[in-house]
């Protein structure tokens, strides 16, 4: 199956690969997986106030999964948490011209964003309670 140029671009030079300190109070870590293909995706956000100032990802999976998470980190940087939560997998499908069999990769990326935001919010709540 041929990948679109945009997928190949993200695959060959993925943006924001790496890790943030998952123990930091400002960092939210999302981990999601797609068992049927064995893909696993980690997406982390660094938050100041309500704004995502940095994002990193590490994905083990196919080209489309890597491209979807790479694009996701690009899109959420600079956005508020609420804005990031509005990103839909369909936008990723459109931007990367993903074929129907690869739609689950974009779903994974959307879930990863939500998972990272949820992790950050839970952390913030537990820190508040701890005070």
């Amino acid at each position: 199956m041929a990948y679109s140029e945009k997928v190949l671009d993200h695959y060959n030079s993925p943006r924001n690969v790496g890790a943030l300190d998952k123990n930091s109070a400002n960092v939210g870590t999302g981990v999601v997986g797609a068992p049927e293909c064995g893909d696993v995706m980690k997406l982390q956000i660094q938050v100041e106030g309500d704004r995502i100032v940095d994002a990193k990802f590490k994905t083990f999976g196919c080209g489309s999964a890597i491209a979807s998470s790479s694009l996701a980190t690009e899109w959420i940087k600079g956005k508020t948490l609420d804005e990031a939560m509005t990103i839909r997998n369909t936008q990723i499908v459109e931007e990367l011209s993903l074929p129907p069999v690869k739609i689950h990769c974009s779903v994974l990326a959307e879930d990863a964003i939500k998972s990272a935001v949820a992790d950050f919010k839970a952390k913030r709540e537990s820190l508040k309670e701890g005070k």
């Binding site: 999601v32 997986g33 068992p35 696993v40 590490k58 083990f60 879930d111």
Partner: protein, 218 residues
């Protein structure tokens, strides 16, 4: 248990009758349990299963139909193939569990059945370790780490498999919540198998034997 349409003897398999030798054309989509004439069950005695295969194979063996008309000969061949396929599935504990879970209407692997976050974190760690070992810069220490990982994966696989079979014994009711848990364990086995395959590739790339990695242990 149903009986033979031709001679009224009890049937051991819907494929044919052991008493009068009649072959039947059962409805399509039978489960491997149905084909082998067994109740759905998580734990299967492999010796008993083998014996059952031998006995049932005799009913549908094409050699016994060499004098029959062509449609009957073809039916015997199809039934033999189906019987062997059912045996293969039931011999493999993971495929067997997959069938039970599927048969009872559990969520499919495509539904987002959660895999625990801690487990996914582990999957990430395995993959990072495997990436390091597959990189051109891989060191002997990296390969040693993969060896350790491989042992751990084999152990985890057998633990999760035992949990899975225990969760299906006795077989849960249709659409029972327990099936969701079983699906989650099947998902974990997928990840474990995938990592074991990658570990085996690491060894193969270096000409090392794989110590039977990626084989199922019942």
């Amino acid at each position: 248990m149903s009986v033979c349409r031709a001679c009224q003897a009890p049937l051991e398999t819907p494929l044919g009758c052991s008493k009068c030798g009649a072959l039947f054309t059962p409805p399509p989509g039978l489960s491997p349990f149905e084909i082998m004439g067994l109740e759905r069950q998580a734990h299967v005695d492999s010796g008993a299963l083998q014996k059952r295969l031998t006995r049932l194979a005799r009913i549908v063996h094409p050699d016994f139909f060499s004098d029959s008309d062509q449609p009957t000969r073809q039916l015997a061949e199809r039934h033999s193939a189906e019987l062997n396929r059912a045996f293969e599935i039931l011999s493999d504990p993971v495929q067997r569990a997959e069938w039970i879970v599927h048969d009872l209407g559990a969520p499919s692997e495509r539904d987002s059945t959660p895999v625990p976050r801690a487990f996914l974190m582990q999957v990430l760690e395995w993959n990072e370790l495997l990436d390091a070992a597959q990189a051109p810069s891989a060191s002997a220490a990296d390969m040693e780490a993969v060896r350790g990982l491989s042992t751990q994966l084999d152990r985890d696989h057998s633990v999760v498999l035992q949990q899975l079979l225990a969760s299906l014994d006795p077989v849960p009711a249709r659409a029972a919540p327990a099936l969701r848990g079983a699906r989650e364990l099947l998902n974990q086995l997928r990840y474990l198998d995938r990592a074991r395959e990658r570990a085996a590739q690491c060894f193969a790339a270096r000409g090392l034997e794989t110590r039977g990695a990626a084989r199922h242990i019942d």
